[in-house]
């Protein structure tokens, strides 16, 4: 059970939550607010990009690899790994196809042997005579 003081606190907290909730809800749906926020973040990010570029140039001047160059190497390594797995899969598919082939080939060869057998037997019988 709540005392009178606690009741007031509870009421105050509920009111605060509702007011803040309504206010924030309006704010996140306000196009002007979102637009200004986006522009402000974009400006900060453009500044950060400019600073990163300047840092890259400083690193290059010191003959040291920059983050941009390291990322490029990483991208190349990732591409190589991708290509390697691609080739492995193609090779596996090729091996699977080859393993399936002899069975297909063996069947006609066996049939040919079987077909030739009566002629062979007849020839053998003739020679015996």
């Amino acid at each position: 059970m709540f005392t009178m003081g606690e009741d007031i606190m509870k009421q105050w907290a509920e009111n605060w939550e509702k007011l803040m909730g309504d206010h924030l809800e309006k704010l996140v749906h306000n196009e002007k607010f979102i637009s200004e926020m986006s522009k402000s973040i974009a400006a900060t990010m453009t500044g950060k990009a400019f600073y990163s570029k300047a840092l890259d140039e400083q690193m290059a001047a010191m003959n040291l690899p920059s983050r941009t160059e390291i990322v490029k190497i990483l991208q190349k390594l990732t591409d190589i790994e991708e290509r390697l797995i691609d080739l492995t899969e193609r090779f596996e598919d090729y091996v699977d196809a080859q393993q399936a082939k002899p069975a297909v080939k063996a069947a006609p060869a066996a049939e040919k042997q079987e077909a030739a057998a009566p002629a062979r037997d007849a020839k053998a019988r003739k020679q015996k005579k």
Binding site: M45, S52, L74, Q75, E82
Partner: protein
């Protein structure tokens, strides 16, 4: 609300961990998160393919789950009794799960095309090889659902699939909620916003905006915890969801740019103009049986974004099961009591005999 002196010490500790986001591996163990054992069956770069459970024999086509790129995949296997994967295993399904892991800056040039036409394709290939089955049941959650739809719509890839299961998957992103409104706002220039990032867009950059999608819920979060603190199981699921919500993943710069400019601002996938593996993909061509589950109270996408699935061939042939569930974006599978209904729908669809896959009812 409880009086100050009645607030339990355990609540204060939980509050402190949540506010400071100081969760550790021991918190995950304490709660018993990710209850289903998983075996790694394939790995490339940052992403891994897992086979779930310990018993793999199944009478059904295997299920491959594509999780969202934005969060970790363990929302699908959160806690015992709160796990979609656990339910799939109980239904006798052979379940495979992709873990996108943490992309590195070297993957910055890879967008959705790479994810779908190379990596999901590779995962499908592995599943087919391991199980010996010719076709796979593809499932996708959130953005993963959009990727699964791209796969199912691709003229060369769709032959791999026997069914498609979409969980809160957006397709039509125009007017699809607050995120769509933000990206459509004048001055929202994704190239400028990401100009400073090399390779990756850090998780903290875009996750900072997520609480603003549902501000009222954010404000009520700790009050609700206090009010329900003594309710059996409530604090465990609350904390598990809080851990998941604060465990964020970086985006590759290309995927982020595509998501905002191509998929949101141009709505290219819905219009059938998005290219995967050099081919245009149009979800309207999908002709496999589909289960689409949508959250009524979704704060990320409105129902309209998912409703677009009704425009595909399968829907016109009565092969679409579409359900709107009275829950939130993740609570429909992880928390809300209604999740039991979700589990029933999923189990029933994925184990449905082939001959009964036509003429599914629309809800």
């Amino acid at each position: 609300m409880k009086a100050t002196q009645e607030i339990p010490e355990a609540y204060r500790e939980m509050l402190s961990r949540s506010v400071t986001k100081s969760y550790t591996e021991s918190d995950r163990h304490r709660l018993g998160m990710e209850p289903t054992p998983k075996v790694q069956v394939f790995r490339q770069g940052c992403w891994t393919l897992y086979r779930c459970g310990t018993e793999f024999a199944s009478d059904y086509d295997p299920v491959l789950i594509i999780p969202s790129l934005i969060n970790r995949n363990y929302i699908l296997d959160l806690l015992p009794g709160h796990s979609l994967i656990e339910q799939m295993k109980l239904a006798g399904l052979d379940v495979f799960l992709i873990d996108w892991g943490d992309p590195d800056a070297g993957m910055g040039n890879y967008g959705f095309d790479q994810y779908v036409s190379k990596w999901v394709k590779r995962a499908v290939r592995q599943v087919k090889k391991i199980t010996g089955k010719a076709r796979v049941q593809l499932a996708g959650q959130c953005i993963g659902g959009m990727m699964a739809t791209m796969y199912a719509a691709h003229p060369d890839l769709r032959e791999d699939l026997s069914t498609l299961f979409l969980l809160t998957a957006p397709l039509d992103l125009a007017d699809s909620g607050l995120l769509a409104q933000w990206t459509a706002t004048e001055g929202f220039d994704v190239d400028k916003l990401t100009a400073a990032f090399q390779g990756l867009v850090p998780a903290h950059f875009f996750h900072a905006s997520f609480p603003l999608l549902d501000p009222k819920n954010q404000l009520a979060k700790y009050r609700r915890l206090l009010e329900n603190f003594e309710m059996p199981g409530f604090k465990e699921i609350w904390e598990a969801l809080d851990i998941w919500g604060s465990d964020n993943v970086d985006f590759t710069k290309q995927a982020y740019t595509e998501l905002i400019s191509t998929l949101y601002q141009e709505n290219a996938f819905y219009k059938g103009e998005y290219m995967v593996g050099g081919r245009k993909v149009d979800f309207k061509d999908i002709d496999v049986p589909i289960l689409s589950l949508v959250a009524r109270d979704d704060h990320v996408f409105t129902e309209k974004a998912a409703f677009a699935i009704h425009e595909c061939k399968a829907a016109k042939k009565g092969r679409l099961d579409y359900h709107v569930i009275p829950a939130g974006h993740v609570s429909l599978i992880a928390a809300h009591p209604v999740r039991v209904h979700t589990y029933t729908l999923v189990r029933e669809f994925l184990t449905r005999p082939e001959q009964l896959r036509t003429g599914a009812k629309k809800k």
